[in-house]
């Protein structure tokens, strides 16, 4: 799981096609370089390129690490994929606590680099809570994910990785995800009385807590 992809992941494409690694705008005329391959007598120089099959970079991951995970936690491992040489393991939300202890202790992922969330409002369980872990012993990174629906609690990681204290507060602040067992789950960046969770997808970029702004700043709008 190197941090830098040394070469493009997709296998080399035939010279006639555009390499998958350099996406061009679909509106780009195919005949931008007419002197190379396109015959001069091409009747339709501006014909759009044939639709490429969608690039799928996510492949199932089946290395030793995942094997150990599956052996130990079985059905709690929802999915294990590799995306651009990064290991991503989705686990059951309910069992995140014990999995985290195992990951830190036996798999030696001592450092929680980052904990964040992604909102997919159309999904049944709209949130991904994402933990980016690093192991000093193996010089490896691992990403753990759990799915959480609106209002579902995620076990707090504060007793496993103390870093997650502020990170979980930030996720709570921005997404409204509640972490069960957090010692002090309050807003961290926004004012405590703020209403709404700005990083949710249904929160518009111009939206704000107008009542708060009016009361505390004495202006109609912060925009």
């Amino acid at each position: 799981m190197a941090d830098e992809p040394k070469e493009p992941l997709p296998s080399p494409v035939p010279p006639g096609e555009k390499p998958a690694s350099t996406p061009l705008p679909p509106s780009t005329p195919a005949a931008k370089a007419p002197d190379v391959k396109a015959p001069a007598a091409s009747p339709k120089p501006a014909a759009p390129p044939p639709p490429k099959p969608p690039v799928v970079l996510q492949t199932p991951l089946n290395n030793e690490l995942v094997g150990r995970f599956r052996a130990k936690f079985g059905a709690a491992i929802v999915e294990a994929i590799e995306d651009r040489k990064q290991a991503i393991i989705t686990v059951d939300r309910e069992r995140l606590g014990e999995i985290a202890l195992y990951v830190r202790g036996e798999e030696k992922f001592e450092m929680l680099s980052d904990l964040t969330a992604v909102d997919w409002p159309k999904r049944e369980k709209r949130f991904d809570v994402v933990l980016n872990l690093y192991s000093f012993a193996k010089n490896e990174r691992l990403r753990l994910k759990v799915h959480a629906g609106d209002g579902e609690k995620v076990p707090s990681m504060t007793s496993v990785w103390p870093t997650s204290n502020w990170l979980e507060r930030e996720v709570f602040d921005m997404f409204g995800i509640v972490f069960a067992g957090h010692p002090n789950l309050t807003r961290i960046l926004l004012p405590e009385e703020w209403q709404g969770y700005p990083l949710r997808k249904d929160y518009d970029i111009l939206q704000q807590d107008t009542a708060w702004v009016k009361e505390n700043l004495g202006i109609d709008s912060g925009q």
Binding site: D3, L57, L112, N132, R143, P198, L199
Partner: protein
């Protein structure tokens, strides 16, 4: 670096100092408008006499919703915004972002671009450390280093200005490589700076390293053990001063760092003095990297083939670089459109500041200033 049992959480108060002086507990505010908090950081301190028995950082005064903005801009449009996070190390911020998007697109910057990126980023590291040294020393009462540090920092900013026209928020790089090629005398300018700089570091060290007041104010202050440092996710010079030899430039080389020889300085006790020594040595090492890099800048293109409209294939990346303050990570999720679905920035200052409470307990109020300084935080990055 073994974990033995559960880590004690910072919320558990250390009882050994409780009512040691027989004085009542007192809660005082530091900041947000305080010259030594390096921006708008507010710290609530719980005191027993002169001693700190608890602290709470109140942050967010500079929150601009950078991550939300990122979701509403195209990939290229968002690039200048990242410069405004750690605004004293804008080049490093830009490098991390551009590389993360390149990883998402599966393209690689050409060799020439990577070397020039390395040179500018290392100069930026020196500039960032110089600003840290000047202000940190000023907080503790040494006025002179500030003027010395700003003198050398000015030379670096002049190089940036010549390169891209901006001094602070440079937006120096583009996704896929560089927008501008190196100007004609870049190598000469960098070489001259490096030549002068070697004696300049000696000047700073003459003022501080053996200075009795400096030693008294920094030795044994704000100790962070290696175990604690890792548990709190602290990175960068703060982690290395605690004795953990870990630098992303070595652990997962990016840009052109795999081509150059340099050392990772580490400390032993993890106190403020060690962090000072580590950063001083890092400046010397950065200078060495710059000297090696200017010797042989490859010729060739400076921009990889990326389209004018970037539509990375769906997926996600986490890319981290060693910014002057620590691990600067970008977690970017693409849904295949022209705008990132999610941009998460892992800010080193934010996470390093989390360890502040751990470091400050049991120390005197005057040491709080030293500990804030030694963490080298930038509030633009803490609050984003």
């Amino acid at each position: 670096m073994e974990f033995k049992g559960e880590m004690a959480l910072s919320t558990e108060a250390t009882t050994e100092h409780k009512t040691q002086l027989g004085a009542d507990e007192l809660v005082i505010n530091m900041g947000p408008q305080h010259p030594s908090t390096h921006g708008v950081l507010r710290v609530k301190l719980k005191l027993d006499g002169e001693r700190v028995i608890g602290s709470e950082c109140v942050i967010g005064y500079l929150h601009r919703g950078v991550e939300k903005i990122g979701e509403n801009r195209t990939y290229q449009q968002f690039a200048p915004y990242v410069d405004r996070m750690d605004y004293v190390a804008a080049v490093s911020n830009g490098l991390g972002y551009c590389e993360a998007i390149e990883k998402l697109l599966i393209v690689e910057a050409p060799p020439r671009a990577r070397v020039i990126r390395t040179i500018l980023t290392e100069l930026q590291r020196i500039a960032s450390h110089l600003l840290w040294l000047g202000t940190h020393a000023l907080d503790i009462g040494a006025l002179t280093p500030l003027f010395y540090c700003f003198r050398e920092r000015e030379e670096i900013l002049k190089i940036f200005e010549k390169y891209c026209g901006a001094r602070l928020t440079t937006h120096a790089f583009r996704i896929g490589g560089l927008q501008y090629d190196a100007y004609d005398t870049l190598e000469k300018d960098v070489e001259r700076f490096c030549k002068d700089f070697v004696s300049r570091v000696v000047e700073y060290e003459d003022l501080l390293t053996q200075n009795r007041i400096w030693l008294g104010r920094t030795k044994g202050v704000g100790i962070l053990t290696a175990t604690d440092a890792i548990a709190y996710g602290v990175t960068g010079p703060v982690l290395r001063a605690s004795g953990v030899k870990w630098d992303i430039r070595k652990a997962a080389p990016y840009a052109a760092y795999d081509q150059y020889k340099f050392e990772i300085p580490v400390g032993t006790t993890g106190d403020t003095y060690d962090r000072y020594l580590v950063r001083m040595e890092e400046m010397r090492q950065s200078r060495l990297i710059c000297l090696q890099a200017i010797e042989n800048i490859p010729t060739g293109p400076i921009l990889a083939k990326v389209g004018k409209v970037l539509k990375p294939p769906p997926g996600e990346v986490y890319h981290a670089i060693e910014a002057p303050k620590g691990e600067l990570g970008y977690y970017v999720v693409s849904d295949g459109s022209v705008q990132p679905y999610r941009v998460r920035i892992r800010p080193p200052s934010f996470i390093n500041l989390e360890a502040f409470d751990r470091m400050v307990r049991g120390h005197l109020v005057a040491d709080v200033v030293a500990i804030i300084g030694t963490l080298d935080i930038v509030l633009g990055e803490v609050d984003r």
